[in-house]
Structures are given as structure tokens and as C-alpha cells.
């Protein structure tokens, strides 16, 4: 790809300094880029650091957390040094974010109309009347029937799917270049999930956005993402094109994750499991962070953490099993 990336994250580290002098390395040395029009999925279990990665990009990390190191470039512009006022301009205009639970993301005491027009008036400096017209248009764009009436309603009067549509309308209101969606459909039923994911794909096309989709659902990834990054213990352990990653899975963690899913087509008596649980971010094992749960663990894995290496073109893996494979070719 020759185009310039919309988002470029370089060696990002976000740590949380806990009370008892523990340091939770929630995001630990992550680098990736997202290009215009692309859908990139960030996959991992709870505690893997995927949401913190997104919040770091949005500069929404609060104490005791802090971005310790690294660069975040939006359209080539460094945003880590920006002051809160400058950052407010970036948020909404350049990048927007949708959260998992739209009920907690919307303000319960303001009408839907209030919340959408506020953004337009603040970011686009629109007049009241223009903002109202634009807001109704946006609601229609995201497939909300009776948009004029919905403008006067409060979040609790809407269903989960409708709320998420409102969130999408708000997110695209300033036509951002990058939309970050953090588990946008996890709280929704499967028939509504399909509607919302299709809507996001449609909006992505319409507004030429790039999409960073954070999810734990590999099915969603397979249907909607161009590229996948698998996170474990605050680091990316595997990164490739979606089809390549699902067909030629390399990392033992990714393999375990796929095997533990019940398969709709085959009947297995037992599911594959990954033994143990995700280690807390303040207490990673020495060496490879997956070593304590890995079925292929070697002595070396317990000593030092492997690097993320490109073992085939565009297929990156952080695992000693594939050491030197890239170099032989």
C-alpha cells in the first residue's frame, strides 16, 4: 500500500501505576498502522489490553494510567504532546469511538437530539437550525425510523440496537477519518448484531473511513475485517491478513482460541481449551507471556520474550517456534 496511514502507532506503552507499587503493563510495546478504507480487527480476551490500546489512541487514559512511551500519529501528525484543548479537536473530527454499552455512553438526562446537535455545534460551529436538520439527516442515514420523534426522546426509551445506531450517528457526524469501535455489538442480540455490523461497513464505505474493530468474536472478524491483530498480555502476538491468519494460524494462543470455539458444522464431543487463565497485567510470567499456558512451551520461552517477527510476507508472529523461519526464505 502506497497511501499514508491514517493511524500510526509506534512502540506504544501504557502502564497503570497501582496503589501497592505494582505496575500493570496493560499495553506493552505495540506498533501498527491503519490505512484509509481498511477494517482492522484487534482480537483478544478480557485483560489482553485491546481496549486500553483504543483508549490510548483517543488519549482517554486516566490516572493511575499513563502513556509511558511511544508515538501515535494521526494522518502523520503526532498527538501525544497535544494539550487537552487541541486533543478535543482531534476527537470527533479525526477519530471517533463507539463503545460496547451504548446506555452508559449516552447521557441519560439529555435527549438524543440534544446530544447530537451539541457535537455539531461545537465541532462544526453550526447554527441551531442547521445542526437540527443535519442531526435528523444523520439519524435517517443510520436507519432510524421516525427520526424527528427520536430527536425528542431520551436514551432509555430506545432499544439497545437503536442506541447503538445513535452512537454511530454521533460518531460519523463530523466525518472522522478513523472510527474505533470497541466491542460494538457484544451487548446486542445476534439478529441486531448483524444489522449494526452491516451498518458500520456501509458507513465506512460512504464516508471513506478506516475502522479499528475491537472484538473477542472471531466470527465477526472473519466476516468484516481485512487484517487481524491478536493481542495477549498487552502485546500483539500474531498479525496478518484475515484469511491468512485463519487458514494458516501460527501462534499457539491463536490456535487455542480458535479450537475453543464450538463449531457449528462439526460435532465435537469436547472443546479444545487453553489451560489456566490470563495472567494479570502486573504479574506477567518472565519470558513469553503465554508460556505458562502454552502446550508447546520450551525452556527458552521461560527465559526471554520473543519478538514479533515477519515469518512470511505480512504474517507476523511472536513465538520461538517459528524462529529463523523468516530468514531461511
Amino acid at each position: 500500500m502506497n497511501k499514508e496511514p491514517v493511524l500510526d502507532v509506534e512502540q506504544l506503552k501504557t502502564y497503570f501505576y497501582l496503589d501497592d507499587d505494582k505496575v500493570a503493563r496493560a499495553v506493552d510495546n505495540i506498533s501498527f498502522s491503519i490505512y484509509p478504507g481498511e477494517t482492522v480487527a484487534l482480537v483478544g480476551e478480557s485483560g489482553s489490553g485491546k481496549s486500553i490500546t483504543a483508549l490510548s489512541v483517543m488519549q482517554l487514559i486516566n490516572k493511575p494510567g499513563r502513556i509511558v512511551e511511544g508515538n501515535i500519529l494521526i494522518d502523520g501528525e503526532e498527538i501525544i504532546q497535544l494539550n487537552p484543548k487541541q486533543m478535543t479537536k482531534i476527537r470527533g473530527n479525526e477519530i471517533a469511538m463507539i463503545f460496547q454499552e451504548p446506555m452508559t455512553a449516552l447521557n441519560p438526562v439529555y435527549t438524543i437530539g440534544n446530544q447530537i446537535t451539541e457535537i455539531l455545534r461545537k465541532h462544526k460551529k453550526m447554527s441551531k437550525i442547521d445542526a437540527r436538520d443535519k442531526a435528523i439527516n444523520l439519524l435517517k442515514t443510520v436507519g432510524i425510523p421516525r427520526a424527528e420523534e427520536i430527536m425528542k426522546e431520551y436514551p432509555h426509551q430506545l432499544s439497545g440496537g437503536m442506541r447503538q445506531r445513535v452512537m454511530i450517528a454521533m460518531a460519523i457526524s463530523c466525518e472522522p477519518k478513523l472510527l474505533i469501535a470497541d466491542e460494538p455489538t457484544t451487548a446486542l442480540d445476534v439478529t441486531i448484531q448483524a444489522q449494526i455490523l452491516d451498518l458500520m461497513a456501509e458507513m465506512k464505505e460512504k464516508y471513506h473511513m478506516a475502522l479499528l474493530l475491537i472484538t473477542h468474536d472471531v466470527g465477526v472478524v472473519s466476516e468484516y475485517a481485512d487484517r487481524v491483530m491478536v493481542m495477549y498480555g498487552g502485546q500483539i502476538v500474531e498479525h496478518a491478513q484475515t484469511k491468512e491468519l485463519l487458514r494458516h494460524t501460527k501462534h499457539p494462543y491463536t490456535k487455542g482460541l480458535l479450537e475453543s470455539l464450538p463449531n457449528m458444522d462439526e460435532d465435537a464431543d469436547r472443546l479444545g481449551t487453553i489451560k489456566g487463565t490470563v495472567p494479570p497485567a502486573y504479574n506477567f510470567p518472565a519470558g513469553c507471556r503465554f508460556s505458562a499456558r502454552c502446550p508447546f512451551v520450551m525452556e527458552k520461552c521461560k527465559q526471554s520474550n520473543p519478538e514479533l517477527e515477519e515469518i512470511e510476507t505480512d504474517h507476523f508472529v511472536r513465538c520461538y517456534l517459528y524462529e529463523n523461519e523468516g530468514e531461511q526464505e
Binding site: G160, V190, T191, Q193, L197, S222, E223, S260, P262, T273
Partner: protein, 337 residues
Amino acid sequence: MTILSKESAQDVLVDVQNVKKYFPIKGGILKRTIGHLKAVDDVSFHIHKGETLGIVGESGSGKSTLGRVILRLLDPTEGSIQFSGTEISHLKRRHFRPYRRDMQIVFQDPFASLNSKMSVAELIEEPLLVQTSLTRLERKEKAIEIIEKVGLRAADRLKYPHEFSGGQRQRISIARALITNPKFVICDEPVSALDVSIQAQVLNLMKDLQEDLGLTYLFIAHDLSVVKHISDRVAVMYLGRIVEIADKHSLYSNPLHPYTQALLTSIPVIDTDENPAPKEEKIKLTGDLPNPANPPSGCTFRTRCPLAHDRCAVERPELTELEKGHFVSCHLYTQEK
């Protein structure tokens, strides 16, 4: 309507016939009942001994209410519930108590369903204290046995819930449900709060325990792949009614109700084929679940159904057996009377 043949009636453990659960809606200044929310509306099915019946449905379909009604945590408005041949739907609380040890439930959220101020030992032994007259030592022995059975260590007895991860807490919930040696366990979304790798561990454990202890499960979930994995038969609920019930293989390979078809095609699937077969056209449902307090007339699914016709608005479809053991309630498959 009965969907039981005579020869199989003997090994039926739970038989639910025409059960309804209506919640009153109060309104006005006098808080009079102005309507009813039909959470469960005329549902019939049975569960054989040793079988797992899965119930799938979206939120608001009434699947959890149904589970609670069977356990008499809620009283049914109408209908009959037989457990091992005994009618339990109208037993007084006092008379129902002995049945509770045979019927247990595992809830969804292991962070909310365990009292954080009780140790694991207290949590697990509590049902014994209520249900049996075992001595302290006997209770302890029994608790240790079950703790080890669900894959925890005996030493974990003295810990408190916050010291465990979600998957381990769900193991505690399972141990607590199993300590009275129940015959029947209702699992209400037991793995939906867990990560997939942990979900697989808990599902495997539940299957093992079923084999070891000869348990019968009613497995309530919204995740169709999980339900398929664990169930023998599956019922699909929509707005308080069962729209389709069948053996899992015929339900998943040959779904008849348009709602089941839509559910199955809306699951995102993992595609690893080199040359993927042309995908079945997705059936996209438009709109949301209607308000259960004011459901559509006739077939409640008709407002979202791509195949709805005039008859659907007028007449409520009956659950009819189309193939052996495969029941569906849809006018597409029945002649107009």
C-alpha cells in the same frame, strides 16, 4: 395439545404443558392493572432423563422467565409442570421444598450470584444446611468431594469469591448447584460472561459432570453455537412462545421457522476455506423485537418476518409436528382450516 408419545412418557423427567407467566402492568394513580406482559405465553415441552434441552432466544424472548417458572422461583399464571410425574406447579412453598434439592440452577453472572462475604466452604455447604441433616464433618467431606469434582482444589474452600477468576467462580456456582445431588439443573446463560477459552473449559466440565452424575440439563443461552454443542434437542423462543423445537441436528441442518433461519444465518461464521462456497443468502431481519407488553396479533413474529402473509395477522399458528420430533409453529407449513 400434547407432544408426548406414550412409549417415551416413562423416561420424561420434566413435562411442561401450556405454561403461561403473565406479569401485570400497573398504571394510573390507583396503580390498577392496565395490562399484562406475557413473558411466557402457552409453552409446552418435555425433557427426558439424562437429556440436555437447549433454549435459545434473544433478550426479551422469555427464556429466563421460563427457567424460573419451572423452578418455582416465579409462580406460573397457568399451566402444568410435572417433575418425575408429580405435579409441582401449584404446590405450596412448604410442600415444594423437598423438590428443590432435585432441581438446581446455575446463573449467568458469577460475580453477582455468589455472596462476596461468604467463603467458598460456606457457599457450597449452605444448601446442605438447608436441605439435609448432615453433621458439620459430613458436610465438609461432601463439599471437598464436590470442589475437587468441579476442578478446584480442596484448599480453595477457605478462600472468598473475589480471589477467583470468572471461570473459577462459575465452577463454584456449579459445585453449589450440584452438592444436593440434583437430578435436574437449569443453566441460565452459564458461560456468556466468560472468555471463549474459559467458556470451553466450563462447557467441557458441564458435559463431564452430566455423564458422571446422570444429570438432566435445561440449557438457556443466546449463543447458538454453544447451545448446539451442549444440547440434544433445541427449542427456539420468540416473544414468550416456542416457535420451533427439534433434535439439534434437524434444527440446525433444516431450520423450518423463518425466525430460526434468520438466527442461524445472522451468526458471523469463521471462513477458512480456500475457495469458499457461495454463501447462503443471509436472511436479514429488520427492526427490533416488538414490545412484549403489546405483541402483534396472530403470529408474533410477523412484523419482522420476510414471508408474512395475511393469515399471519389473524390466526396464531399452532406448534405442529412436521417431521418426527420436529415441531414448528408457522402458517407456511399448515393448511388454512
